[in-house]
């Protein structure tokens, strides 16, 4: 019996709900095997290939390259030949074939009608949502007609922080004055906007500044460079940050307001705020406490390269516990950073400058000094903790030998 298998643009998590078709690897009439890549999609954050869910022949393709597809829509259809159903086809091949088309037609018919804009979900799906304490109205369904499926609920429940907040619907009725040029507010830009607004709206931000003398560190770095090891200062910063996080666990934490708990995390995964042409990305160095400075340096460079090329995978961007923001190379003395929700703080490194410094002996010396700031969630901690955290960081970086003491 021949069956028609639909290839859908399924939910990739992280609240992404649309993607652009970049390239088809196959055309109508092509024979494909299971898991063979069919189409390349650009989502808000990454490029993804959609593999064939079944072997068969491409029956139809519903979008052109460059089209934007919403999650849950059928991109193409594959005709499969199910050998196992042979007896059935012997019995009445034609009848069943016509029947399966009827079913398909009926299904399509239901995809358009939802006049009251209700959330569509089977009772069992609603039961799961109820048991998980998830508000089903908040879930973007990926099933036919946007129906919420069991998996949508499970996925939503797993990522409560990123998904539970939904932006207010833009009022489509409001007429805007005619703009000279319109830029589509979508994709990564919109996603950044959502995250930033949410963070600023929910977290009372406080930023504390200090300056750090990098002279010793830069000297040590030059020595290393002469020995053939080219390590960025940022890698040292991250090492120092991880040591500080271990000593001040409130900085490596998440606040769960509804449950009235603050979760102190035992994993140290450092998000690296990275500027790319598409916008701000935050790739993550996972388990930074278990990695050497050299290894982190390599990993950071690799991640940043990937980010700039737009090749980051979802796994590269998940589960940061603390974020650092190295704006030094771009310039700037100070800023008012926004915390990468649901984290509790973000540390920013500014431009290093040579400045005249008055020494203990009242002499003048030219030193390399960098401004740093720690922006924290004032709900979970106070300024004193932030100052202590920064002081400890300062100590480790101004006297890099101290980093040795923390070697495991």
């Amino acid at each position: 019996m021949n069956a028609l298998v639909q290839v859908k643009f399924s939910d990739m998590g992280e609240g992404m709900n649309e993607g652009e078709i970049i390239h088809y690897f196959v055309g109508v009439g092509d024979v494909v095997s299971v898991d063979q890549p069919l189409v390349e999609m650009q989502t808000d954050k990454m490029v993804a290939e959609i593999p064939a869910p079944a072997a068969g022949t491409i029956a139809s393709i519903h979008y052109k390259e460059g089209d934007v597809v919403t999650v849950g829509n059928v991109i193409m259809e594959i005709t499969t030949e199910a050998e196992s159903a042979a007896p059935l086809s012997e019995m009445s091949n034609t009848r069943l074939q016509s029947a399966s088309t009827t079913i398909a037609t009926k299904k399509n018919a239901t995809t358009v009608t939802n006049p009251y804009n209700r959330i569509l979900a089977a009772p069992y799906t609603r039961k799961i949502a109820r048991e998980l304490g998830v508000d089903i109205e908040q879930i973007q369904g990926t099933g036919p007609a946007g129906r919420v499926l069991d998996d949508d609920v499970y996925q939503f429940a797993e990522q409560p922080e990123t998904n539970k907040w939904t932006e207010e619907q833009e009022s489509a009725t409001q007429k805007l004055p005619q703009a000279e040029e319109e830029i589509r507010f979508a994709g990564i830009r919109k996603r950044i906007a959502e995250k930033m607004s949410y963070s600023v709206q929910t977290i009372p931000h406080v930023t504390h500044y200090d300056e750090v003398d990098l002279t010793h560190l830069l000297e040590e770095r030059s020595v290393l460079k002469e020995m053939g090891e080219s390590i960025s200062v940022a890698a040292f910063f991250i090492k120092a940050v991880v040591i500080c996080l271990k000593e001040f666990p409130i900085f490596n934490a998440q606040l769960e307001v509804e449950k009235e708990i603050i979760r102190l995390l035992k994993q140290y995964s450092i998000g690296i705020a990275t500027h790319t042409e598409a916008g701000l990305m935050v790739p993550v160095i996972h388990d930074a406490d278990q990695k050497s400075i050299r290894f982190m340096d390599e990993e950071m460079k690799r991640l940043i390269k990937k980010a700039k090329a737009g090749d980051l995978k979802l796994a590269d961007m998940k589960q940061a516990t603390f974020t650092v923001n190295n704006v030094g190379p771009l310039g700037g003395m100070a800023a008012t950073p926004i915390i990468n929700h649901p984290e509790t703080a973000i540390m920013t490194f500014y431009k290093t400058k040579k400045v005249p410094v008055v020494t203990k002996d009242d002499a003048l010396e030219i030193r390399s000094v960098m401004n740093v700031s720690v922006t924290f969630d004032h709900r979970v901690m106070d300024g004193a903790q932030s100052i202590a955290f920064t002081n400890r960081f300062k100590e480790l970086i101004e006297h890099p030998t101290k980093l040795l003491l923390e070697l495991i």
Binding site: S84, R95, K106, A122
Partner: protein, 340 residues
């Protein structure tokens, strides 16, 4: 009485026989006539002739004209007669030749058979069985193919039973005759001479109001009864080849429905196909849907599908196969609920 006890003992010794459904029913009637002298049979041509389907074949020779009674062609008359017999302590088993012939007797059933217990505040019961072959598929003329169990399921005061195998036919028939209240006993004539099955020669009873899981499954529950059971099983077998595991339940009693077995299975699978050959509107399938809504709403994963006869009088034999639910229609329904 002494004689019948001896006969019963002999039956036990005979053990198990391979019987068709019609033979199992004959055997059941014989067992009851032997066991209980209050049991007697009434119907058109059931005595000398042995019944239109031979359900009573040979019984008049054994039990005589006073216990196996040929009646005139008057359903209202002999059902009314049976009402009088039951009121006076007998256990009449009435044969209606085809369920479609029950309509003249409907007045007796609706006004007396179903009400006597309530009317007499429980002083009298109505230990009567109305046997009726039902359903299409044997190329009968008009009215002979009806499957109007829903009319009786709707009436309080009468149980509705419908076996699908020789074993169940005898066990349910004996339980129906023993029941103090009236039972409409529907016999799927299409299955009368189908598969043979081992049937114990002795008296055994299957509790009324209990369905049976004929095949365990995980993905979709199929509810059926009577002549639709082979269709349900064939469809389940076809679906197995496509990786869909069906649980098939033979409801066996349509009133009262076995709500526990319905709820339990639906809560397991979350997907349901109901099959009956009676007309769709107001059919027993709708009642099952209602039970599911009441007991298992939160477990449903897909809308419930019914595969039923159409809302037309059952057509004559040239077209009856287009009226009856088929394996193909059931397979499509299963695929539909499975892929919802």
């Amino acid at each position: 009485m002494a004689l019948s006890k001896v006969a019963n003992k002999q039956a036990v010794q005979v053990g198990v026989k391979e019987l068709t459904m019609i033979q199992a029913i004959n055997d059941g009637l014989k067992t009851m006539l032997e066991e209980d002298p209050k049991t007697l049979l009434l119907g058109e041509d059931i005595g000398k002739n042995g019944g239109v389907f031979r359900a009573t074949d040979g019984l008049q020779d054994v039990f005589g004209e006073k216990r196996v009674i040929d009646t005139p062609l008057s359903e209202a008359g002999f059902v009314g007669t049976a009402v009088g017999m039951a009121l006076n302590g007998l256990k009449p088993v009435v044969e209606i030749q085809f369920l479609g012939f029950v309509y003249p007797a409907f007045e007796q059933i609706a006004t007396h058979v179903t009400r006597m217990r309530t009317r007499t505040l429980g002083y009298y019961s109505m230990p009567m069985v109305i046997r009726a072959p039902y359903g299409a598929g044997v190329r009968s003329p008009e009215i002979h193919s009806d499957s109007v169990e829903a009319l009786f399921v709707h009436l309080p005061g009468i149980k509705v039973v419908c076996p699908s195998t020789p074993y169940d036919a005898k066990g349910l028939l004996l339980a129906s005759i023993a029941d103090p209240d009236p039972v409409l006993f529907l016999e799927p004539m299409r299955l009368y001479r189908g598969k043979r099955q081992e049937v114990p020669a002795h008296d055994y009873r299957i509790e009324l109001g209990k369905g049976e899981i004929v095949q365990q499954g995980e993905d979709v529950t199929i509810f059926a009864w009577g002549a639709m059971m082979p269709i349900a099983m064939e469809a389940a077998e076809l679906m197995k080849e496509q990786g869909i595991s069906c649980e098939v339940i033979d409801l066996r009693t349509l009133y009262p429905l076995d709500k526990a077995i319905i709820a339990d299975s639906v809560q397991k699978t979350g997907r349901v196909v109901i099959i009956h050959e009676g007309h769709e509107t107001g059919g027993v399938g709708s009642e099952i849907v209602s039970v599911i809504m009441e007991t298992s709403f939160l477990y449903l994963r897909a809308p419930i599908e019914k595969v039923t006869g159409f809302d037309v009088p059952v057509p004559l034999f040239a077209l009856e196969h287009t009226y009856l639910p088929t394996t193909e229609r059931v397979s499509q329904a299963i695929q539909k609920v499975y892929s919802f």
